[in-house]
Amino acid sequence: MSQDIYVLIEHIQGQISDISAILLAAGRQLTSIHNSKLVAILLGYQSQNLINRISADHVIYVDHPSLAEFNQDAYILTVSEIIKSKQPQIVLFGNTTIGSDIAGILSISLNIELASSCSHFTQEGKIVCQICGGKIMTEAIPSSSTTLVTMVPGGYKPESNQLNFNPEIENFAPPPLNDLRTKNIRLIQPGSTDVDISKEQILISVGRGIQTKDNLELAENLANALGGVVCASRPVVDQGWMPTSRLVGKSGKHVKPKIYIALGISGAPEHVEAITNSETIIAINTDPKAPIFDIATYGTETDLFDLIDILVEKVEDAKSG
């Protein structure tokens, strides 16, 4: 078994997703332990242009029409072959709609260990994971054979690994990819006549704590006062109170505003991973133990129902006065 650290690059519609950079940053840290190589696995179809955006020592590139976009069976068969032939120490996946779909399957079929929701690694290479909505952390040691790890954002900055954009390229022949049980038909873009919150600078976000649809008015008032836009976490969108275009989170948009005001949001990891790039986060939540306070810049336990109206008034006064 080699000591190399492998990373599965995630891309969609020709764009490498942010999680890949985080995986590479984590991988880079791990390679320094045994002085091993950081290898990126890139599966695609005529996607060679992406290779120069990958900061790794070595890129294993597999080209096949069935790999144009993410396809479960195609990815599993291909990555399986790569792991079997290369026997890396650790393979990093995103804890995402791509990575999570295949890591567990590989674990069983290749009989290797899997750790999920890893946020970072210790100096010695121990795997640190978060569970129970971020309230509990675990530390684990990788196995003696290949270990698979799915990672969540938060432990590494995507920009922190900016060393080498000229990796060695290895063209890897794909296994037979004909009889695939899953077939991609098409990608549906979100109906986007709405604002693109990922480009907004001032965001007022609402979570479960808003309690009823009527209370969205409070957020709207604040947004109007500050010249911002209202967005929401999953529970609010699931109820139908806000459209999916306003969803901030793992399955929604990742945002990077100047200011992110979170009203009644607890701070579940799926939401937090999408807002860590905000410049300033202000969290308003009556639960002092809410995980959001761990990543917010400022916080207050004041009840939003007591606070927002007064705040809006003061902002309006400040603007006119």
Binding site: I12, S17, Q72, T96, S100, D101, A103, G104, I105, L106, S107, I108, S109, N111, E113, L114, A115, S116, S117, I127, C129, C132, G133, K135, I136, M137, E139, A140, I141, S143, T147, T150, R181, T182, L187, I188, Q189, P190, L226, D238, Q239, T244, S251, K253, H254, K258, I259, T280, I282, D294, T297, Y298, G299, T300, E301, T302, L307, E313, V315, A318
Partner: protein, 254 residues
């Protein structure tokens, strides 16, 4: 058409969580176990499918304190059959559960196996993919729309940014449900109580619980948050004033 729904119970995060004396697991004394909300969505999706085309919905749960009520509620919502997998699951991971469920599921020969896309206490990946591999079925996760065709399933898989991928997959298949097409329905308490009197939960003993595939946990702890928000205190007036000055400092307010 047979649809199996796997329902796990997970720790209720409303309660305070504490670590066991062994240092590597949760203290079960104060733990309240509730239905994994994604599994609730999976059940709802199964019932919705059944409402559109005749199907048999079978819900299976590993044995935990409080599982009976969850399974009776499943019947009240429309499940045709519920099975409790008996065994001591207090120290088992998803790999063990997947292996434990496999013989039972193979016996039933379902067309679809639905389960939640994740659970808050997953440590070795979520149940869905692991189970799919044991059953040698394809797996699609982050599913938020399911339509049954003749011998395949047409579904919508969620990608970041609100992008959806339309995928067709052969039957049988395991799906990890992110969200059902409608929020899980409400069942009146009296209905569940009625079901408790008239229905039964089948029990199947799990043969063995093999945790292989999960990494070895050396320590479980509550996060020492090295960063924390600067808390603003005072009455609403005072807090609003401070926030206003923060807005000015950042430059959000001229």
């Amino acid at each position: 058409m047979k649809i199996i729904v796997i329902i796990k119970l997970v720790p209720d995060l409303v309660e305070e969580l504490s670590i066991n004396s062994d240092g590597v697991s949760l203290d079960s004394a104060w733990l309240r176990m509730i239905i994994n909300e994604f599994d609730d969505h999976a059940l709802e999706q199964a019932i919705l499918l059944k409402e559109r085309k005749p199907a048999q919905v079978i819900a299976i749960s590993p044995d935990y304190d409080g599982v009976d009520e969850v399974l009776f509620t499943a019947i009240a919502k429309g499940a045709d059959q519920v099975i409790k997998l008996k065994g001591d699951f207090s120290n088992s991971n998803n790999h063990a559960l997947a292996r434990g469920l496999t013989p039972l599921i193979q016996e039933i020969q379902p067309d679809l196996v639905l389960t939640g896309v994740q659970a808050n206490n997953d440590q070795d990946g979520s149940l869905g993919p692991t189970l799919a591999a044991c059953l040698n079925m394809p797996f699609i996760g982050y599913v938020s729309g399911v339509a049954l065709e003749e011998n395949s399933v047409l579904l919508k898989k969620e990608y970041p940014g609100g992008v959806l991928s339309e995928i067709i997959v052969t039957i049988p298949v395991v799906l990890g449900i992110q969200a059902a097409e409608k929020p899980p329905r409400y069942v009146a308490v009296s209905k569940v109580r009625q079901i408790m009197k008239t229905s039964t939960i089948e029990e199947k003993q799990v043969s063995e619980l093999n945790n292989n595939g999960g990494v070895k946990i050396t320590r479980m702890f509550q996060p020492e948050t090295n960063s924390h928000a600067e808390m603003i205190t005072g009455n609403p007036e005072e807090v609003a004033d401070k926030l206003l000055s923060i807005f000015k400092d950042i430059g959000v307010l001229k």
